[in-house]
């Protein structure tokens, strides 16, 4: 099994006719993902390397029965693209767009929460999701993932997601699903959403979680691990030695309730019973040790 996506997932690519959409959309298809359609307003009736293009998500869903969408459009069009997909009945939306204004993110997150509670948004500004051997939606290089499980990966950072996959695959430890949730202010899917899904997935036996400095998402995840996770969790929090990030002013510091330092996050995760590593390689090594003890 896997979480969120599998071999039956049918994907449309919003922005397939753009250079990024074409490159990654076709790469996802070549990986084995069912990429059934593209959507670009005004280009309906054309095709991209055999993938039919429609004018709207509604048209594409009616014609293909797609249930997932991969949004690869520039920041100014991302908000409308996401809401169009949700309104058209897509249940899972992956948005990789980087640079969407925070006000837009706050707005479409809450529109989805209210009007489309059954829709899951992953991202924005995330690498996407890959269930190795089954489905790859996003920009992750499929050849660095290894099918078969038993590890689930969830990461806030794009490139560290690849690093985590790479560390495990090098050690011949497979993955059930790897989810990059993205590091933007209002991520559609949280660490907790992924941890809960991995806890329920029978094929996932252990979880690797990659966090980074800032905000309080890791602390919230730590509380969830403490209260709800029976499966072992290995964590790495990037930025142990990083300089203080952009100051958000007084109001921001109060909300977070802590400084958002890697040290505070690591302490919370260790307190929750997770194994905490100091770098991605060590996280991979700890996970290999844990996987050996399973069965």
């Amino acid at each position: 099994m896997s979480i969120f996506v599998d071999e039956k997932t049918k994907v449309i690519v919003q922005g397939l006719t753009g250079s990024q959409g074409r490159f990654h959309g076709l790469r996802n298809r070549d990986y084995g993902t069912q990429v059934v359609a593209g959507v670009t307003p005004g280009k309906g009736g054309t095709d991209v390397d055999g993938v039919p293009v429609y004018d709207s998500v509604g048209d594409a869903v009616r014609a293909t029965g797609a249930d997932a969408s991969f949004v690869v459009v520039p920041p100014r069009g991302a908000s409308a693209a996401i809401l169009e997909a949700a309104a058209a009945g897509v249940r899972f939306i992956v948005c990789i767009t980087e640079g969407i204004p925070a006000q837009d993110e706050a707005r479409f997150y809450n529109v989805l929460r209210r009007d489309h509670p059954g829709v899951r948004l992953l991202g924005p500004n995330c690498p996407g999701v890959i269930s190795p051997g089954k489905c790859n939606i996003g920009i992750t290089s499929g050849d660095i993932a290894l099918p078969g499980g038993p590890v689930g990966i969830v990461s806030r950072s794009g490139t560290l997601t690849y690093q985590a996959l790479h560390e495990l695959s090098q050690q011949k430890v497979g993955q059930t699903t790897c989810v990059g949730i993205g590091g933007d202010p209002v991520p559609g899917t949280s660490f907790i959403d992924c941890l809960a899904a991995f806890e329920e997935d029978p094929d996932t036996r252990a979880v690797m979680m990659i966090g980074e400095i800032g905000g309080s998402a890791e602390e919230e995840a730590a509380q969830f691990i403490k209260d709800n996770m029976s499966k072992p969790v290995v964590c790495y929090v990037a930025g142990v030695t990083a300089p203080p990030g952009r100051k958000m002013g007084h109001a921001g510091a109060i909300i977070s309730g802590s400084q958002g330092t890697a040290q505070a996050k690591m302490a919370a995760l260790a307190d929750a019973g997770a194994t905490v590593a100091l770098n991605p390689t060590e996280a991979g090594e700890r996970m290999v040790e844990i996987v050996k003890t399973l069965d």
Partner: protein
């Protein structure tokens, strides 16, 4: 991007948030002219993006032109916590009855906007939060609903603002919310928000952080960008779209993605070295961006080796390799490069670099291995 106080007040004015009459001055003569226009007494305020201006002597009350000239001359050129004052804001002095606090920002955990109001303004709000948390009234605002005058009125009452301040304060909050949302602010903060002795409520200070991601729909922000004080290297990095932060070590760092860049700093430190910088070339960087990143690092005299750590996703390793080759031809790099290249099109990238491998360009298979070599080339563990 953080705005200066005067820019924040000008931004507030676009949304009808009342401020004191005043103007900007870069010279003593201009300060006097602005003071004459605003009407005495006036307050002469240093424009720096750092707290503690008042205590440092950067804010003075002046009763006539002579005093304005004296204070303006003292404050211009003053160094306030490492920030040199080049500009003043001169405004009519207010008769203050009460000092309040008001702000809007995003509560990431709740995924809603957060409005905070306090009757205890004029002091550091963190201090209020620590010593008297009940003095801060908070309201989550759903961006789909927005903020009504009625909800704002309940909040200012809860915060304990004086009865005569509540009406105008509630209206001001609604205007500040519009400024925060339509103006694409990460933070819109007024401290102090004052009640004057004649019953008016207005902003005596302005702290505004704009969301750089929204610049595409705010052409008016260009005037703010021109006043940012960056050093030469930061300016060069910004022009090239690079996320660069200077540090004090000897290993130059280039990585794609903020997470991997932070992690690269971590492993360099764990290998016994120290990073000279944080540099994220971003997602989808092409050859030109990679070459620019090497140029920026090359201007840092403290750098002894450069660790380029790339895991391609949307970034293609062949593009990165082309950028390195281009930089080798274009820039006289003072330091050797240690490269780790994995991910999208990695094989093509390695093939492009094959004929350029030398003691000036070393490739290592792993992130930890590359970190150790970069630290060794920089002179070993510190």
């Amino acid at each position: 991007m953080d705005l200066y106080e005067y820019q924040g007040k000008q931004y507030f004015a676009r949304y009808g948030i009342p401020t004191s009459p005043g103007g900007v001055a870069d010279t003593v003569d201009e300060a006097v002219t602005q003071a004459d226009a605003a009407g005495y007494p006036v307050v002469v305020k240093a424009q720096v993006k750092v707290g503690g201006r008042g205590k440092a002597g950067g804010i003075k009350l002046a009763n006539d032109a002579q005093e304005v000239a004296t204070y303006a001359s003292a404050i211009l050129g003053m160094d306030i916590h490492g920030h040199v004052v080049h500009r003043l804001w001169v405004e009519h002095a207010s008769d203050i009855a009460r000092e309040y606090y008001a702000s809007f920002t995003l509560d990431r955990a709740a995924k809603l906007h957060l409005c905070m109001v306090s009757a205890k303004g004029g002091v550091e709000i963190e201090e209020v939060a620590a010593t008297d948390p009940t003095a801060i009234a908070k309201l989550h605002v759903d961006p789909v609903d927005g903020l009504s005058v009625a909800a704002a009125a309940r909040l200012v009452e809860e915060a304990g603002l004086e009865p005569e301040a509540r009406g105008p304060a509630a209206e001001l909050l609604v205007a500040l919310y519009r400024c925060y949302v339509e103006g694409d602010c990460d933070l819109a903060e007024i401290n102090p928000l004052i009640l004057t002795t004649d019953g008016r409520v207005h902003a005596l200070d302005a702290k505004v952080t704009l969301d750089d991601n929204a610049a595409f729909r705010h052409p008016e922000w260009e005037e703010f960008a021109g006043t940012e004080t960056l050093d030469e290297r930061e300016l060069l990095a910004k022009e090239k779209g690079l996320n660069y932060i200077g540090l004090s070590g000897s290993v130059g760092i280039i990585a794609n993605g903020a997470g991997l860049a932070m992690s690269t700093l971590d492993v360099v430190t764990q290998a016994g070295g120290s990073a000279a910088n944080f540099l994220d070339i971003g997602g989808g960087a092409n050859a030109d961006v990679m070459a620019a990143a090497l140029e920026v690092i090359n201007t840092d005299q403290a750098v002894r080796s450069i660790f380029v750590n790339i895991f391609g996703g949307i970034t293609r390793c062949d593009e990165v390799a082309n950028g390195i080759v281009e930089a080798l031809g274009r820039v006289d790099l003072r330091s050797p490069i240690v490269l780790r290249l994995d991910g999208t099109n990695a094989e093509a990238g390695h093939a492009i670099l094959a004929s350029h491998i030398s003691d000036r360009l070393v490739v290592d298979e792993t992130m930890l291995g590359a970190a150790r070599r970069a630290v060794a080339l920089a002179g070993g563990a510190t």
